[in-house]
Structures are given as C-alpha cells and as structure tokens.
Symmetry: C2
C-alpha cells in the first residue's frame, strides 16, 4: 500500500497525448484550444464611432466654428466616406467608420439639428468617441494562447478573426466498465439481494463535463468473460475506468486479469479513505491507462475527481488549479490514511468555507448530491481545526 | 433611463414557466429536476458486508469461541443464505448480503484460514463491518428535492432508484438575433468597413451551459425585413435575445418594430456601463420575453450574465446564489452609472479575490477571455477600496 501523495504522483507521471483535430467553431465549446489565435487584422479594423451623433474635424472647432452643414448620414456597414471639408459634418451612427478628414465625434445629445445644420452646444475634446483602429490589437497580435478551455468568450474571439473551424486537443476514447453480479440495469426491478447500476451512469455524466462520451459496459464476475471483454476494450480505448472487482474478495478478478493481458500494475491499494483498493495500470502496447476504482459509489466518485480529472487536465495541457478552502468545523483524522471528506462549500464575505457532509460511509450515494467536492485531510495526530485551510477537490 | 436595481427587479418580475417534460436518464444531465426522488426501497436494501472476510454470530464470540468452520462463500449478487448455527461462519465478500443468523463481519486480515476453519485473531466489535439495511434511507425517504440541477451525483441517485427517465423542467425556445449591416459571416473575408458576427456565436456557446440550443438569425438594418422576421420569431419562441439596433441611431429600429408588433416595452436604457441601451419587453399574446442588448460584444456579454442568467434560473426554480468577492485594487466609479467591471477571480488562502481586467472599452472582445465575470459597482463618490467586498457575477 502506498501513500496518497505517492499514488497521485505516479498517476501524473503516466500522461498521454491524443493529438489534435479540427472541429467546427460551434462544436469547439468546452474543448481545449490547440493553436494560438492571432488577430487577422487590426481591431477595431477602422476608426469606429462609439456614439450616435456627428463626425467633425477638430480644427474647425479650434477656429471657433460651431455650426456645421450636414453632408450625409453614415451608418455601420457603410464604406468609409470623406468629409469634403472641415467646415462640414456627417451624421454618424455607433459602429460606423469615421470619415476621412474627420477626427472627433459629438453625440446627438450635445448638438441641435436645424435646417440641415448641426449646432454644437459645447466644446468637445479632440478625438473623443472614436475607438481607434488597432487600439485593441494590431494585426498578428496573439489574442488567445493555446492550452485553454474554449468558453463563450473565446468563441467570440474565434468568430471575430474568422475561425470557422478550430484546432483543438483530441479527447481520449474512454470505456467505463462496471463489474459485480449484484448489479442490474436501471430499468429493472432488483431482487432483494441485487442493486441497480449507478456508478457507470454517474461517470458518464461526469465525463460529459469534459466533452467525453464514454462507452458503457457491464461485466459479470467471471474471469473468462472479463478477460475476453477487456482484451477488446484495451485495443479500442485510450482509457478504461472500472468500478468494482479490485478488493481482496475471491471474485475480484480485475488485477489478475489486467496483468494477464499485459497491463502493468503501477500500484494497487492506496492509504486513503474512501477508495483504498484503487488499482492503476498501464498497457504499453496501445498506451491504454486503466483506472480501476473500488465499486462503492463514493469511492468511485472520489477517485474519479481526485485522480482522473487532474490527470486528464494534465494530458490536455490544462492547468488544474490548486484550491484551498476554510474548514467550518473540527475534523479528526488520526488514522494512517488520507481522508477525502465530502463537503459543501459556501462563500461568505469573500471567504470560501467547507462544511463537512454527514455520510453513511462509502455506500451512501445520496450524500454525494449534498456535497460539491472533497477536502483532502492527510493523517495527523492533531485535529484539523475550525478555520484551518485545507486543500479542496471540486466534484 | 432607470437604475440598474430597478431594471433588474423589472426583469425578475417577468418570469415564465415552460412546464415539465420527461427525458431519458442520461439526457437529464445539466437539466433541472422537476420531481421529488424517493427511495423505492431501503438503502442499503439488505444488511451489506463492507469488507471481505467472514460473517459470524457475535454470541459465539461472547461464549469464547474463536474457531469457526466455514460453511460457504457469499459474494455480492447471491441471494441471502442462513448461517446454520452460531458455531459456523461464512466467508463473505464486500457488497454481499449478510446471512441470516449472522450479525458481525471480520475482515480476512484479522483471521487465519486453516483446514476449512477460520480462526479469529482478535475480538471483534458486535455488528462491525455491516452497512445496515435502511441505514442510509428507508423506503419512501425523499433523496432529492426538485428544483435542483442534475449533475453526476444526482444521476447516481436517480439510477439507484430506477429512474430510467426523469421529469425535468422544460427549457425555453430561444432565438438569438444579430442586427447590423456591418456584420458578415465568420467564414467570410470582411471588407475594410465590415466585421464578422461574434455575439450570436458567443451567446450560442453561453446558452449551451444551460442545455439550450438556440436558433441563430441575422437581420439587416431594414425596418421591413426586421418586422417580417420578428413577427415569425415571436410566434415560435419563448425568448428572443437580440444584439444591436437599440441605440439612438437612425437605423436602430428594434424598439419601434417591437412595439409595433405588440411587444410591450418594460424599459429602455439603464444607468449602467457597459450595456446602457438595453431594451426589455414582453409580448403578452405568446408570452415571449425580448432581451434586446446593445451590439458591442462586452455589452451583450455583460447583460446576458447580469440579467438573462439570473432570470432563467428563477424561471426554472433554481437558486441563483449571491456572491461577494474581495477587490484586489482600488476602483473609482463616481459616474451616475452602475459599472460592471470585468475581473479575473483567484482563490488565495481561502479568500476569493477579484482582479480588474484592463479593457479597451465595450468593443474589446478579447478582454472577455481574460476575465471570468464582472463585479457590480454602484455609483458613489468614495473609491471602492482594495480589500472591499463587492458583488460578483460569474460569466
């Protein structure tokens, strides 16, 4: 049995790179950007009016002029015009190109329009109300660095520079497998000694946050069945997430079968609760990673968030931020195990607190719906104090 | 022009209810639960072993017995057996039903198995290593209340109680419309006076977080075109999100067209920056809400998160949590406008700080990709101090 820190480091040392692919812009939401995104032109691409009003040449104001004959109306989407002389003005709308020979925009509210003239009511500042060409970014500027999650803001930038398709990191092919003869389908009425599958569906939902749609599979506790199925699964997937079959029970065939199929055990059993019997291995030939979690719902859920998510982030080049939150009550962990305690966090006056959630042990699935993550408490003799900073893993 | 608080209240007063619908379990991730979820049986449904080891009757220990003939092996998925007498034991695996006439499980590590007998090495506690029937929840207990977002944890609970289909809140049909003659498609090369559409695509991505797939539409700045299209859109949608066409420009036809089509203006123009020309209206006949945002990317993005998201949450019965964060530098807002300042938040020693992001005004889209939300600063003469708590709107 190894410590949590050792186990975590070992998982992190076995990253994969699934390459890149090109997807349509609207399909790229939630994916990880794999290319730098450059300004294809200046932004704004022209001197752009930021108000509805009139465009003038400031030298006229300097000469004391306040009445300007209007020689046209410019709206967004019209090609650039030229002010015929500094004695004239154009009406101009927000987003329109400021005409050549003009350098200042005065909003309607500060003018009076009469008989084809605009009368300026107060002296403007030279250059006001113009968003200058290239002032946000000049052509070639890097607007987005790669290795970031594409959200609505990035979609806006990508659209602006004409990326109708985007280079993103490929995602792993994932197979989620449950084992255990006690498990029946969700739609079935279980016999008294049976329970319904829930872990694979829960993992399916968790993976959807990462834009991954896994294959779901269930295997009976039969060595031959497991062996045949996993042979195929290993060839067709980059990652296998298993729940169940890794304890010390007589029907826990997973470690044995994995090793017989050339999946090298990196470790089995971690000094942690929940999730101690976690088995982690790598099949070199297809470079398939096997995360084999114990079958209890809380164990699977904790291990998925503690190990798999940070590992996936690292594989994709994403930063997995370390988070520290404030314990809102005393917790003792004097066992020689790292504990992952379910908590509900809440923000109060700018401080992020974590309230431990009562749970009925690692089989108590309903408790997960009351929490939003785990705090990680390494073993120690002193109690973890109320108000103490502890590391937090969102789930 | 009304204040931000007044505008926000008015939007919140015009909620809708789109009813409920039933979807497949795996399709329900991210949706809002519309029914209470009850335990359909006791959880666990039987006295369940939490260890691999042997099951015994504790009275034998009390009588001084330490050697137990093994009369079978029980694994998860096997119907309940009965221990033939308190002098015997069964091997039992994690997840298996504890046999009748047994009440204690001793893990293998604390036994020695020899010649068909298990020898207990130390005295166990009565009842240990058994997850008692009904201890998590008894039949009929409410496991999940409605009006909550379905995440991976809820999927696990729903699966466990056999909900292969789930009652969820219906989502609104949303049409996202851009206006402006200067806009061309993402795949086009814009002429010098043109720019590419970005707001509708950005809103499309933002709505995907709410599981909403909107219809996208672009309208030229032509009153007749706008009128005809919007007539149809009003009939077919619950919500219209518009960007552009609500300023004071000569081609900003939206307010006029909306009112001509029976969309009652609730307000136009809010004392805020960015996003001042926001127009909000309701068409009673089809109960369609119209959020008409100014066309600048930052204005549209801010108004979407400041008004639309909390409004959607309220319509769906979700709690929209108020969040306060700590400003990490001085900000002045002595204008008579509520400001929404782009910020990047970071967690440091359990405290959530907000760092204002430099931006080049409301046209600067790239700045949005550097921020993760807005802080809301109401007008006041004193500066907002470093370390001061301010309200935060995630984006």
């Amino acid at each position: 049995m190894i410590s949590f820190d050792e186990a975590f480091d070992k998982v992190m040392q076995h990253t994969q790179d699934w390459g890149i692919e090109t997807v349509d812009l609207l399909e790229s939401t939630g994916r990880v950007l794999a290319e730098p995104v450059l300004a294809d032109r200046d932004f704004p691409p022209f001197d752009r009016s930021t108000r509805d009003g009139i465009a003038i040449n400031f030298t006229a104001i300097e000469k004391g002029r306040s009445t300007f004959p209007i020689e046209g109306v410019l709206s967004a989407g019209m090609p650039q015009k030229t002010l015929s002389s500094s004695e004239f003005c154009c009406e101009i709308m927000t987003g329109a190109v400021v005409p050549q020979n003009a350098d200042t925009v005065i909003m309607y509210e500060q003018t009076t329009l009469e008989n084809g003239n605009a009368i300026v009511k107060s002296i403007p500042k030279k250059g006001q109300n113009i968003h200058k060409k290239g002032s946000d970014a000049s052509t070639g500027t890097v607007l987005l660095q790669p290795d970031r999650r594409i959200t609505a803001a990035e979609i806006g930038v990508l659209a602006t520079v004409g990326k109708s398709s985007v280079s993103v990191k490929k995602l792993p092919k994932v197979c989620v497998i449950s084992t255990g003869n006690e498990l029946v389908d969700v739609s079935e009425i279980p016999l008294p000694h049976q329970i319904r599958k829930s872990n694979t569906l829960s993992l399916h939902a968790a993976l959807s946050k990462e834009c991954i749609v896994p294959e779901l599979l269930h295997l009976a506790d039969d060595k031959k069945v497991i062996q045949d199925s996993i042979t195929k699964v290993l060839q067709e997937n980059d990652v296998i997430l298993l729940s169940g079959g890794v304890s010390k029970g007589k029907f826990d065939f997973i470690p044995e079968v994995m090793e017989s199929l050339g999946v090298k055990k990196i470790f089995h059993r971690v000094a942690q609760r929940p999730g101690k019997p976690f088995w982690f291995g790598v099949q070199k030939e297809h470079n398939t990673q096997v995360f084999s979690f114990p079958g209890n719902p809380v164990s699977t859920f904790a291990n998925y968030h503690v190990y798999f998510v940070p590992w996936l982030y690292r594989c994709l080049g994403l930063n997995y931020p370390k988070k520290e939150v404030i314990l809102d009550q005393v917790v003792l962990n004097d066992l020689p195990l790292t504990r992952f305690v379910q908590v509900k966090t809440y923000l109060e006056k700018g401080k992020l607190f974590a309230k431990p959630i009562e749970d009925g042990g690692s089989g108590d699935l309903a408790s997960l719906s009351k929490s939003d993550g785990f705090v990680c408490l390494r073993p120690r003799q002193q109690k973890y104090k109320k108000g103490e900073l502890v590391s937090y893993i969102p789930a």
